[in-house]
């Protein structure tokens, strides 16, 4: 639920000059109740949410396995470090569904999830109430050593961090003890790298997978050291060979100092190398390779997790080879174990996926995108692909936001109140919200919170905008909504099949793709339809009629743009002008030809430097010479770029530079102009239209 709220907070951050944007932007995302009132700020002292960090994760995970298996549904909620990486990536009315998806994709890729709230709900027929078990996982993309883990860099939106702070988010717990994770893809890559490294090592006939390090021993100190080591190792080898006769091995006479300690390594006599610099270790390796075929240098992780460096004596080549193999296998095993540990929080997601339970979230499209990117793999490029593949992993998802806005009975109950989670919770579940036992009349679904170890330090009283508590609220709202839909929990003595319930069918797997779209998307089919509850403020947009302008002077205001366009294209030509930020604007024309005309006109005007261009109504727009015009497809491309420049014009310019490199080789090959025009497929126009000015001008 903090997505809308963060955006609302963001409003105040929008400078006055941009205030006109606000009206068209996300206006129906209500400011969360707690910001204004304080309702739902806590559900009495009895409500507790278990805090899960690195220290108790393993034990919680074990309990969770049975809890999820027994659960009727699982409610989730996420807290992130931000929502939009730049102001122009906020949700606009002018966003086509594919553009909106790109914005959500960007958000999920850039920001980190810091809290994962999970609440299992199980119907207890004997008490005729739900048993809820809320958990609050602190997660942090900590970099595990030597494993290509989650991205090492993430963004924070200042307003979101301030928002988290406002609700007492514990940043220390998150960063100090947050649980790390690996996505499925990352795990696969890590395992693959490991296996190939292992094979390389085995295949290497020299049996040494350390990189060759040629150090010319030029320094006197190095030469002396090398000689000293040579003598030491020779003595030691002699003593090992003479073992039964020579009792030297009984004591530690290998060296007068602690640097060389006699030990046994996998039933082989060995010397532990302590306190050598990495440079000297390299010199030792060099000595061994050069003069001692039967002595082997190994570095292994010891019992106490410290790196041990050893020189091991082997009887023969075969013995050496088998020892090497054994060491390698040990390494492989421990590395695999490391990866398994690094998977961390994803075990929870794996559990949800394997149990195929009903997942309940409130306005959870962005949450799902985060889950996909963080725990499964890179996000697909198209929304259809994304939702279909989500449907495969999590086949049953219900969005309570959609449920409460599209059902008439509940809408009637909610009356005018806002559709935010906390307000829905206080309206639909007053008995839990106010924690008053007497109001537990039959119309309310009873929910009991289970705490297995009360008084433990891991428990904290639930607070709004804490993921665990939000997940709990979502589940309560869902349970109550089900009862309003006429689902009788009491009759289900056995495990109830909520996803299969006819009454829920029309709400299952229907999500809001974005908060200002007014559409819902069906996860099973990937189709987007207009939402029934949404009232359109604007007529349907013809995206082909929209031209994108950027790079104009900072003095230009929307009305200037409109005036310029009207002067030249006619009074009715412009339907609306919308500023993405202070450097870029959309112009919506009444005909799509005007978009092309504008691009041609701009180019002609720039080529002429005579009086016409000065007197032309557009001269003001083109002032400075950096103004660019493009069509809606370019906007999509610019949004799809992984860059995140703060100003739209910078982002657009950078995208153009990137694209040039892609276009350049093509234009070189097809030097004949007629060929260029004839081979112009749809995709060419889309991707290359910035360079199509010339083509358009040629026939003119």
């Amino acid at each position: 639920m903090r997505k809308p709220t963060v955006n609302c907070l963001g409003f105040r951050a929008i400078p006055q000059t941009l205030a006109f944007l606000i009206q068209s932007r996300l206006i129906h995302r209500p400011l969360s109740a707690a910001a204004s009132g304080g309702e739902g700020a806590g559900a009495g002292g009895a409500m507790v949410v278990k805090k899960v960090t690195l220290s108790n994760f393993t034990s919680v995970l074990e309990d969770l396995r049975t809890r999820v298996r027994e659960a009727d549904f699982v409610a989730i909620d996420l807290e992130m470090t931000g929502v939009t990486s730049t102001p122009w990536r906020e949700s606009f009315e002018f966003d086509r569904s594919d553009v909106r998806y790109l914005k959500i994709k960007d958000s999920a890729e850039k920001f980190a999830v810091v809290q994962f709230g999970l609440c299992t709900f199980r119907w207890d027929a004997s008490q005729s109430s739900f048993i809820a078990h809320p958990l609050n996982f602190y997660i942090f993309p900590r970099k595990e050593q030597s494993i290509e883990g989650p991205s090492t860099e993430f963004l924070c939106q200042t307003s979101s961090i301030s928002f988290l702070a406002k609700y007492q988010f514990d940043f220390n717990a998150c960063i100090h003890e947050g649980i790390s994770y690996l996505s499925k893809t990352q795990e696969e890559v890590a395992l693959q790298n490991l296996c190939s490294a292992y094979e390389n090592c085995l295949g290497d006939s020299s049996g040494d997978c350390e990189e060759y390090t040629e150090i010319p021993a030029v320094r006197t100190a190095d030469i002396l050291f090398t000689e000293r080591m040579k003598i030491r190792f020779r003595e030691w080898r002699e003593s090992v060979l003479n073992y039964p006769k020579d009792p030297i091995l009984e004591g530690n006479k290998c060296g007068p100092d602690a640097e060389l300690n006699m030990v046994f390594f996998k039933m082989h006599p060995a010397i532990m190398l302590n306190g050598f610099t990495s440079h000297r270790i390299k010199l030792i390796q060099l000595v061994l390779r050069k003069y001692f075929k039967e002595l082997l240098y190994v570095s292994v992780i010891g019992e106490n997790c410290l790196l041990q460096k050893l020189v091991v004596y082997t009887d023969s080549e075969e013995d050496k080879a088998s020892l090497m193999k054994e060491i390698q296998e040990d390494k492989l095993r421990s590395e695999k174990l490391k990866i398994q540990t690094a998977v961390g929080f994803r075990h929870v997601i794996d559990l949800l996926m394997s149990e195929k339970k009903l997942i309940v979230g409130h306005n959870c499209f962005l949450d799902i995108a985060h889950i996909y990117y963080k725990f499964i793999g890179p996000l697909p490029f198209s929304m259809e692909e994304f939702v279909l593949s989500v449907n495969k992993m999590l086949p049953n998802i219900i969005d309570t936001k959609h449920l409460i806005t599209s059902n008439h009975v509940i809408q009637h109950l909610m009356k005018q109140s806002r559709k935010s989670l906390s307000s829905a919770f206080s309206v639909l579940c007053p008995q839990i919200h106010s924690d008053s036992q007497n109001s537990a009349s039959n119309s309310f679904v009873k929910v009991d919170v289970q705490s297995d170890e009360p008084g433990s330090s891991y428990w904290s009283s639930g607070a709004k905008h804490e993921a665990g508590f939000d997940a709990f609220m979502t589940g309560c709202v869902f349970a109550q909504a089900c009862s309003h839909l006429g689902i009788k929990f009491e009759q289900n003595s056995l495990v109830m099949d909520l996803p299969g319930n006819d009454k829920l069918k029309s709400y299952l797997n229907i999500l809001y793709p974005s908060w200002s779209s007014g559409t819902v998307i069906d996860l099973t089919t990937g189709t987007e339809t207009s939402s029934s509850g949404h009232i359109r403020k604007y007529p349907k947009r013809e995206f082909a009629n929209i031209a994108l302008l950027w790079g104009f002077s900072s003095k230009i205001k929307p009305k200037d743009v409109e005036e310029c366009m009207r002067k030249f294209f006619g009074k009715d030509s412009v339907i609306s002008v919308f500023f993405l930020d202070k450097t870029a604007a959309f112009v919506q024309f009444n005909r799509k030809e005007l978009v092309n005309e504008l691009m041609v006109l701009k180019n002609t005007l720039e080529k002429e430097d005579g009086l016409i261009s000065v007197l032309h109504p557009f001269s003001k727009l083109l002032e400075g010479g950096n103004t660019r015009v493009a069509d809606y497809e370019s906007y999509k491309e610019i949004c799809g770029s992984s860059m995140s420049k703060f100003l739209f014009s910078d982002q657009a310019e950078a995208t153009v530079i990137r694209r040039k490199s892609k276009i350049a080789p093509i234009s070189l090959e097809s030097s004949a102009p007629e060929h260029r025009i004839s081979s112009k497929s749809d995709s060419d126009i889309r991707s290359g239209h910035l360079f199509s000015f010339e083509e358009i001008l040629n026939p003119l």
């Binding site: 730049t86 860099e153 961090i161 988290l164 940043f171 960063i175 990495s278 350049a664």
Partner: protein
């Protein structure tokens, strides 16, 4: 008084004064006097990430974005610029210190920062980036992130402040309204002036008269109504309505001309729009009263400024004190300081150095100092350098930290700044007593930044400082190459290690038969370094003409082997193609034919930075 001698300087205890939002106003007064009294100011910062972060493992996502040994100062600057734009400052330690003989008297402060949008203007920062290894390494030191986010001090840069004033002008009265350019006065202006003069004089005289007569309260009220008089606090005042900035200046001019200087004009901006609305003329009772009034208004203004500038006030204090600023890794710290407290960073290093001079006269980079002072070259980090100095020289010095804040919170956070002050003092003394005839004052080292990459200490990273601590610094074999002998290579399939790639390249081309070396930059790109000048050029020539090639080299070229000169890399940094792998960015840079005139590095040269086209690169650091 906490006294720390050189031996125990590593374990400096809880002696750094911690400053958060709550005790900031008090600290700012204290630090002002401390800075004034000090000889030098040491600074050190903690950020959410850095261009120099080289974590232990090489699996960084975009390793080439870090400052690498192959970077020239110019490209290193561009990388620092990128970092300063993306990351945030979380702590800023300031330590005014003085050297008194063998004593170093230091007064360290550690400010906790957070770019909170205090004024709801979307400033100072909309979003920022965090590097997990950075945060994790801070967490291991016990860094309190909650303190930062909850109680961190916010700030605005100078550029942001003027933007903020433009957008959301202060509604508090001011003695010094913004001065706009004076335009020639017209007849209308003089009429306006005369009328204002008459009004003020009339009002003034009326008050003079009223103090003599003893009127009833009714008469006083009436007079107030007729004269348009009001009270400002306890003092009589009068509002003069104005409609533009020019009239405001005229009113100020008129008031200052009036011989009787008990009248004080105060600018009152409009509550919402910030347009000039009125000038209030206030009559002070006496000279002393006037002083009091002025002080009152000044305090209001200061408060407003502090609210707006936040932590930047400290930077401004250091700047206006004209003290020499000492830091380690200056390029990193000062690109941040410029970006966060002055304004957006300029496009080139020389411009940056000039711009920075506006803020600080003298900046000494310990990194550069260490590099310059002979055998210290190897001791890259501060503890390493300190321990080296301790072993090699007899420099008895004592670090004293007078406790100036008995009840305030102090801890060891930010103690790094003390080490900087201490190390600088030692080096300063070393330079003065050097027997080698090197008598240059330490100031000669000012304003030259060295671009070393810094290493994060991570557990298990035990090889880090071994060499320095072994007491046997590596002999500098002085394998240095110019940028002309470096080629970037990409499009080689399958090679994952430098040794492997080198083996594949060996002898496939005449230039690869002579002395050359290969280093991997990221997973897509490597550099080849040639000992013989001209080799790079020859290879580059051959790689473009496939038809003249034969054998294995031809095969590699056909498979997609590409090469680029160093300037392609410079261009990548210059136009900021930071996204993606280096090979992709190099492709883009080479395809982009637009050659803007500003992109010509050879012309840029200043005295401030030791820099030339043939930038030497230390191969040992690769």
């Amino acid at each position: 008084m906490a006294t720390i001698t050189g031996r125990t300087s590593r374990s400096i205890g809880a002696t750094v004064r911690q400053v958060t939002k709550s005790n900031f106003p008090a600290a700012i007064h204290q630090i002002k006097t401390d800075i004034e009294a000090a000889d030098f100011v040491a600074v050190s910062t903690r950020k959410t990430g850095d261009s120099s972060a080289s974590s232990a493992s090489s699996s960084h996502h975009r390793p080439w974005r870090r400052i690498l040994p192959i970077d020239t100062p110019e490209t290193a600057y561009l990388k620092s610029k990128l970092a300063a734009g993306s990351f945030e400052l979380l702590q800023f330690a300031v330590c005014p210190f003085s050297i008194r003989g063998s004593k170093v008297i230091a007064l360290p402060y550690n400010f906790h920062l957070f770019p909170r949008d205090e004024l709801s203007l979307g400033m100072p920062s909309y979003r920022f980036s965090c590097q997990t290894p950075f945060l994790s390494s801070m967490a291991r030191e016990g860094f309190d992130f909650n303190a930062c986010v909850y109680d961190g001090i916010s700030y605005l840069s100078r550029v942001q402040e003027s933007k903020a004033r433009e957008r959301n002008p202060s509604s508090s009265p001011s003695l010094h309204p913004f001065s706009s350019s004076q335009t020639a006065s017209s007849v209308a202006d003089s009429i306006f002036k005369e009328r204002i003069k008459w009004r003020i004089n009339h009002w003034r005289n009326a008050f003079k008269a009223s103090t003599q007569e003893k009127d009833g309260s009714l008469a006083q009220t009436l007079r107030k109504l007729i004269l348009g008089g009001e009270v400002y606090g306890s003092r009589p005042g009068m509002s003069i309505d104005i409609c533009n900035e020019k009239q405001m200046h005229l009113v100020f001019e008129v008031v200052n001309q009036i011989s009787d200087d008990l009248v004080v004009p105060i600018y009152i901006p409009h509550k919402f729009e910030g347009q000039p609305e009125a000038v209030r003329v206030v009559l002070a009772g006496s000279e002393d009263d006037k002083k009091e009034l002025l002080a009152e208004i000044q305090d209001l203004e200061d408060e407003q400024n502090l609210k707006l500038r936040g932590f930047r006030q400290v930077i401004d204090l250091i700047s206006s004190s004209h003290k020499t600023v000492v830091s380690h890794n200056c390029l990193h710290d000062f690109t941040f300081i410029h970006e966060k407290f002055l304004g957006p960073l300029p496009a080139t290093l020389p411009e940056f150095m000039c711009s920075l001079r506006l803020l600080f006269d003298n900046v000494i980079d310990l990194n550069h100092l260490l590099k310059e002072i002979g055998p210290l070259g190897k001791g890259k980090n501060i503890p390493g350098a300190l321990s080296y100095l301790r072993r090699q020289f007899f420099l008895p010095m004592e670090l004293q930290v007078p406790r100036h804040d008995p009840q305030g919170s102090s801890s060891s956070h930010g103690k790094n700044v003390l080490s900087i002050a201490f190390l600088f003092s030692k080096l300063n003394r070393l330079l003065k007593t050097a027997p080698s005839g090197r008598t240059e004052p330490i100031e000669d080292f000012a304003n030259i930044f060295h671009t070393a990459s810094m290493t994060l200490l991570e557990p298990g990273d035990d090889d880090n400082d071994d060499d320095a601590d072994a007491g046997l610094p590596m002999i500098d074999t002085a394998k240095r190459v110019g940028t002309d002998d470096i080629l970037f290579l990409w499009g080689f399939r399958g090679a994952t290690s430098a040794a492997e790639l080198k083996a594949r390249l060996f002898r496939i081309h005449p230039v690869f038969s002579k002395e050359f070396d290969v280093r991997i930059v990221d997973k897509t790109c490597a550099i080849a370094v040639f000992r013989n000048s001209g080799s790079a050029e020859a290879l580059l020539k051959d790689i473009t003409s496939v038809e003249n090639l034969s054998g294995a080299f031809r095969e590699m070229v056909v498979e997609g082997l590409r090469a680029a000169r160093y300037d392609a890399y410079e261009k990548v940094c210059k136009i900021g193609l930071w996204e993606g792998d280096l090979a992709d960015s190099l492709e883009v840079a080479m395809a982009d034919s637009t050659e803007d005139s500003s992109y010509s590095l050879s012309g840029a040269n200043t005295n401030e930075i030791h820099w030339n086209r043939e930038m030497m690169i230390d191969l040992n650091e690769l």
